[in-house]
Amino acid sequence: MKTSQEQHVCGSTVVQTINAPLPLVWSILRRFDNPKTFKHFVKTCKLRSGDGGEGSVREVTVVSDLPASFSLERLDELDDESHVMVISIIGGDHRLVNYQSKTTVFVAAEEEKTVVVESYVVDVPEGNTEEETTLFADTIVGCNLRSLAKLSEKMMELT
């Protein structure tokens, strides 16, 4: 990164309400080593280092025809008490530079429902606007969280 000028940064927050209890939702979400269960765009995932806990690094390959084929991601924080997960993207062949997301899981005001909030910050790539960057990232994050919701609700039906 150029030291002479600041990189333009943007961010956004995506919220998803899920008709499933928090422990179930969190048990799926927290699996840093197995994001494929609910992230549609993940083709394969393997740990480069660590055992899935804080500090672990995973290498994710991405499904076809997306503007990326792999991504290197580090689990910065995993708190099972406050249900917070922080992940940074540290490499890959995509344009999301200095991407960091914080996902927090709450019990909704209505019991037996869960609210997942994912906030992220990322550099705005050259040639794109802040609006375009957040629209792209929101699309990916939104799809992932909707998938998490469907999976959680389906698993709850099975129990």
Partner: protein, 442 residues
């Protein structure tokens, strides 16, 4: 290139034993799987049941044809009985091979003229440099048979599907889309092709969503835990060929190109997000096209129409663009292919190359790997004497060579795409459109 795997004649041959056992079990004697049909799918119980339904339907259709011929016999006068006899002879010929003779009876002239022999075709699919094969191809000659008082005609279906995100949407299109088109064609009296195709594609798109909610194919990478798969989709470029028309319905960035009198005529237009009318449609629907490694809907998908991709609806629609082209004597062949080919080969170059293959003066050509029964050979030789190829004297006269030439042309195009460093799966279908005529004077 170790990762390249071809699936052409070899896998077609391998598929025959499976088909043979099916034929015995369901008692269908006439139907024969085309040797160039690609990508045989491993049988599942569900699929076998469905297959039986399909073949039973065709069997009944053939019975209907035969009964209709037989019932017309008693009412004919003596000279016309000879004509009927010729028709019977034609029918018996068609039982033995995959070229089906159709007869249009013109009572005043007592001339029998065939106009819609099953077209010759070939197909090649190659994984290329990508690790997964997500293309699929569907080949269904004579998938619709129409009967009127004066004629019998058959329509032929060819489809190419380029999956993305995973393979199962394209695989599902391969299994079902021709059935939906068939249903629409048989129920539509006016032959309104645009509406028929639009309904078929809409139904296919809905089936993909619904299907994803209930069943998951064992041979795709998705796990049972993620059944909705909103982020998987496929292109679909489909051609229905009738005696009078070539219908193309396209959704996505695969393409159909006709070679007419040596010139490339596109019958479809690629659905790229930055195509001006597509860009307008997406924006009016509230979406955005973002340049993120190329023009992409919401920065994600590099095509503006697809079957599936539910998470990008309504910006990415499954509505096809339909063209209906009258056939002419100048039509030489049709190419259906995925963007793995068209991204690196122009329409004109593809036509030039296929033309060279189809016009090659190779005579008998090679028959490596082919097996023939004596009876079949004699039938072909008999048929050969009756055929006259219109449009090119240089073409090999044996029908079988033309099928082989179409396959060779398809393989050559895939090799050309790889040589030009295509980074995608490549699937190509070549369909020979030159008419063959056969005349009887009663």
């Amino acid at each position: 290139m170790a990762d390249i795997c071809y699936e052409d004649e070899t896998s077609a041959c391998e598929s025959r034993p499976l088909w043979s056992s099916r034929k015995w079990r369901i008692g269908v004697q006439r139907f024969r799987m085309s040797p160039s049909e690609m990508n045989p799918t491993a049988s599942t119980t569900e699929e076998e049941d469905k297959s039986e339904g399909i073949y039973n339907k065709r069997n009944k259709q053939e019975e209907y044809d035969f009964m209709n011929c037989a019932s017309s016999s008693p009412s004919q006068s003596s000279p016309e009985e000879e004509s009927v006899s010729l028709e019977d002879s034609d029918v018996s010929i068609s039982d033995g091979n995959s070229s089906v003779n159709d007869v249009a009876v013109i009572p005043s002239k007592k001339t029998v003229k065939e106009t819609d022999l099953r077209p010759r075709y070939g197909v090649a699919s190659v994984c290329g440099r990508r690790r997964d094969m997500e293309d699929a191809v569907a080949l269904h000659p004579s998938f619709v048979r129409k009967q009127t008082e004066f004629s019998r005609t058959r329509w032929h279906y060819f489809g190419v599907y380029d999956g993305h995100g995973c393979s199962h949407v394209a695989a599902r299109c391969k299994e079902r889309l021709h059935e939906l088109v068939q249903e629409e064609a048989l129920s539509d009296k006016k032959e309104e092709w645009k509406k028929m195709m639009e309904r078929s594609f809409t139904r296919m798109d809905k089936e993909v969503v619904r299907w994803g909610e209930t069943v998951m194919s064992a041979n795709c990478r998705c796990e049972l835990q993620t059944p909705d798969c909103d982020a998987v989709g496929s292109t679909a470029v489909v051609s229905v060929i009738t005696p009078e028309k070539i219908i193309v319905a396209n959704c996505g960035d695969s393409r159909a190109v006709l070679c007419r009198n040596g010139k490339a005529v596109p019958l479809s237009t690629d659905h790229k997000p930055d195509r001006p009318d597509e860009l307008d449609r997406i924006q009016e629907a509230g979406g955005r096209v973002i340049y993120w490694d190329g023009a992409r809907v919401l920065g994600v998908l590099a095509m503006s129409r697809a079957i599936g991709d539910n998470y990008l609806k309504p910006y990415v629609t499954s509505e096809p663009e339909v063209t209906v082209t009258d056939r002419t004597e100048e039509d030489e062949f049709l190419i259906l292919a995925t963007d793995g080919l068209w991204d690196v080969v122009t329409n004109e170059a593809a036509c030039t190359m296929v033309r060279m293959c189809l016009n090659r003066k190779s005579g008998r050509g090679r028959r490596r790997g082919e097996t023939q029964t004596p009876g079949r050979r004699s039938e072909e030789e008999g048929k050969e004497e009756e055929e006259k190829v219109v449009g090119s004297r240089k073409n090999g006269k044996r029908g079988e060579i033309t099928d082989k030439a179409c396959t060779e042309a398809s393989v050559l195009l895939t090799k050309l795409a790889l040589a030009k460093h295509s980074s995608d799966n490549v699937s190509v279908v070549v369909i020979d459109l030159r008419r063959r005529r056969k005349r009887h004077v009663a």
